[in-house]
């Protein structure tokens, strides 16, 4: 008789426990799951692989406006433009060219337009060796002074590359692992008048270490 009572007691207690658990679960009384604070998604602009600048060749292939390269709408043919310098031997940039910021070379010492542009034909470039280069060939102009950098660029060591890494003959024969490899021109990244990269806003820093519970956000300062 005693055993029977005990069994019944245990059963009742168990049933009650389960019933209470059932109520608790269905009402979600136990620590409600707090979804982690949503971290804002990164701007898709940051994921783009485009270069910062567009070269003349890019503009031509994109059929973009080329007014900027049409020198003889303003300049007179056969007449060499005159450069003006201030007392500190700094080039005075005329108002018509106010978009140009000169900053090429340390202390702005590369301050003669005709170090690179052809003064006889403004729609051409002219390195110091006297060759005439088109705007599309600007990389060769840069290379005429920046030899080591040009050498590195040719080998793919300087500058941006994209596409496929395998350029060996075997890779070519395999075919399936080989594809276009693309190098960028100097002016795709550097502004030729001021080649040093300007500062840019960085992408957002990591969030995970500062992840806080929504309830404790304010109490964080106290510790």
């Amino acid at each position: 008789m005693n055993d029977n009572k005990q069994t019944r007691l245990v059963l009742v207690v168990l049933t009650a426990t389960f019933a209470m658990l059932a109520v608790a679960f269905s009402l979600d009384l136990f620590g409600k799951f707090h979804p982690v604070r949503e971290i804002p998604l990164v701007d898709r602009e940051l994921l783009k692989t485009e270069t910062w600048r567009r070269s003349y060749a890019n503009l031509v292939s994109a059929k973009a406006e080329l007014d900027d390269f049409d020198c003889y709408t303003c300049h007179e043919k056969g007449k060499k433009p005159v450069l003006k310098y201030d007392a500190k031997q700094q080039l005075i940039i005329p108002d018509e060219h106010s978009d140009i910021v000169m900053g090429h070379g340390t202390h702005g010492r590369n301050n003669n337009c005709f170090n690179c542009h052809d003064d006889e034909n403004l729609e051409q470039l002219q390195p110091r060796d006297g060759r005439a280069l088109k705007f599309e060939q600007s990389t060769m102009l840069c290379g005429s002074c920046h030899g080591p950098t040009y050498r590195d660029w040719e080998a793919g060591m300087h500058g941006r590359t994209s596409g496929y890494w395998n350029r060996t003959k075997e890779g070519m024969e395999q075919g399936k692992f080989d594809g276009p490899f693309k190098k960028q021109d100097c002016v795709n990244c550097h502004n030729p008048h001021s080649p040093k990269f300007p500062g840019r806003q960085p992408a957002p820093p990591p969030n995970y270490l500062r992840e806080k519970h929504p309830d404790t956000d304010s109490s964080h300062t106290s510790h």
Binding site: L11, V12, L14, T15, T17, F18, A19, L21, A22, F25, S26, V36, R37, E38, I39, L41, V42, L46, L47, K48, T49, T51, W52, A155, G156, M157, H158, G159, R160, T161, S162, G163, Y164, W165, N166, R167, T168, E170, G171, K176, F177, D178, G179, Q184, C189, F197, P198, G199, R200, Q201, P202, A203, P204, P205, P206, N207, Y208, L209, E211
Partner: protein
């Protein structure tokens, strides 16, 4: 008190009468309902691994037919979860290819574009955030990683007097993470990539403790990837979505590089600081860099991990 003569069943088993039966069946019913209700949280385990996954073989023991089945399973799972049919492949290492990464510390401007391109390419969890690349900011003339800052957020980078050092998995030739894995869920492939089989990982996190570069990351919760940000080009050892409770890390974008393409972090780098290629090809960029540039460190060289990731300077 002879049990045979005294009709013992009635006295010993009172439950046989009508009231007793009703009472005990009511108790039983309530109990069963309560038990079912208390097991309710189990229903919320939506991504409970399938029997197929449970019985799946070890990656390196799978036959091509096994792999085909596994890839179909993964494709279906991803489609069910994200409503997008991915292209999941199992890419093998190529013959005569050994990958090396080189990073030009002179060129890196610390813009962190690589970090986010990587997250986007490799389907990392957005919340909580998992990032394979960490960009460390250090003052010029020092290389004290302990004092570096990865939380910098100025108006503009690069800041004067500082340089930036992105750190990710170094794909060591002697990887400590592989050494400690108790179930061989991570190993070094023939092309040098240290790969993880996410279906074999038991989540013990020994590898995270062993890695001197903090390159391994753990999925403490189910990774959150918005559907419209899922990259459908996936590889088994690469960027297929991970589950809760497994580690993950940079794998040199296995789904891209083993198909011949450059890694995502390289393609997005606006300064051209990142270089990648086959060290066995003497004409590759990385071969030339290691031959001609001032390759200054393998990070934490003294630990003898022999990374495949090299930092170098111009000039």
């Amino acid at each position: 008190m002879d049990p045979l003569s005294d009709a013992p069943p009635t006295s010993a088993a009172p439950a046989m009468n009508r009231r007793g039966f009703l009472r005990s069946s009511a108790v039983f019913g309530v109990g069963a309902a309560a038990l079912a209700a208390s097991l309710k949280p189990l229903l919320e385990l939506k991504d409970f691994s399938s029997m197929e996954k449970f019985l799946q073989k070890y990656y390196r023991e799978m036959t091509p037919a096994d792999m085909e089945k596994v890839l179909t399973r993964i494709t279906n799972e991803v489609e069910r979860q994200y409503g997008l049919r991915p292209e999941v492949r199992d890419l093998k290492p190529m013959d005569g290819v050994s990958f090396v990464y080189a990073l030009n510390l002179t060129r890196c401007i610390g813009c962190r574009k690589c970090v986010h391109a990587c997250v986007n390419e490799n389907n990392q969890s957005r919340s909580p955030e998992i990032q394979y690349i960490r960009v460390l900011k250090m003052p010029h003339g020092s290389l004290d990683i302990e004092k570096s800052d990865h939380d910098y957020n100025p108006e503009k980078v690069p800041e004067k007097g500082f340089f930036y050092m992105p750190v990710q998995c170094q794909q060591c030739a002697k990887p400590p993470c592989v050494k400690v894995c108790p179930v061989h869920a991570t190993w070094q492939e023939a092309d040098g990539i240290v790969a993880i089989d996410y279906d074999w990982c038991i989540g013990c996190r020994y590898c995270m403790a062993a890695c001197p570069y903090g390159a391994r990351h753990f999925n403490f919760t189910k990774p959150l990837i918005p559907k419209d940000r899922l990259n459908p080009k996936m590889a088994y050892l690469g960027n297929r979505p991970r589950t809760m409770g497994v580690t993950e890390k940079c794998h040199f974008c296995i789904q891209r590089t083993r198909a011949g393409r450059y890694p995502a972090c390289l393609e997005v780098c606006p300064a051209g600081a990142r270089k990648f290629g086959n060290i066995l090809d003497p004409d590759s960029e990385v071969s030339k860099i290691l031959a001609t540039k001032r390759v200054f460190i393998q990070l934490k060289e003294d630990l003898g991990t022999s990374p495949r990731f090299f930092y170098y300077f111009d000039v």
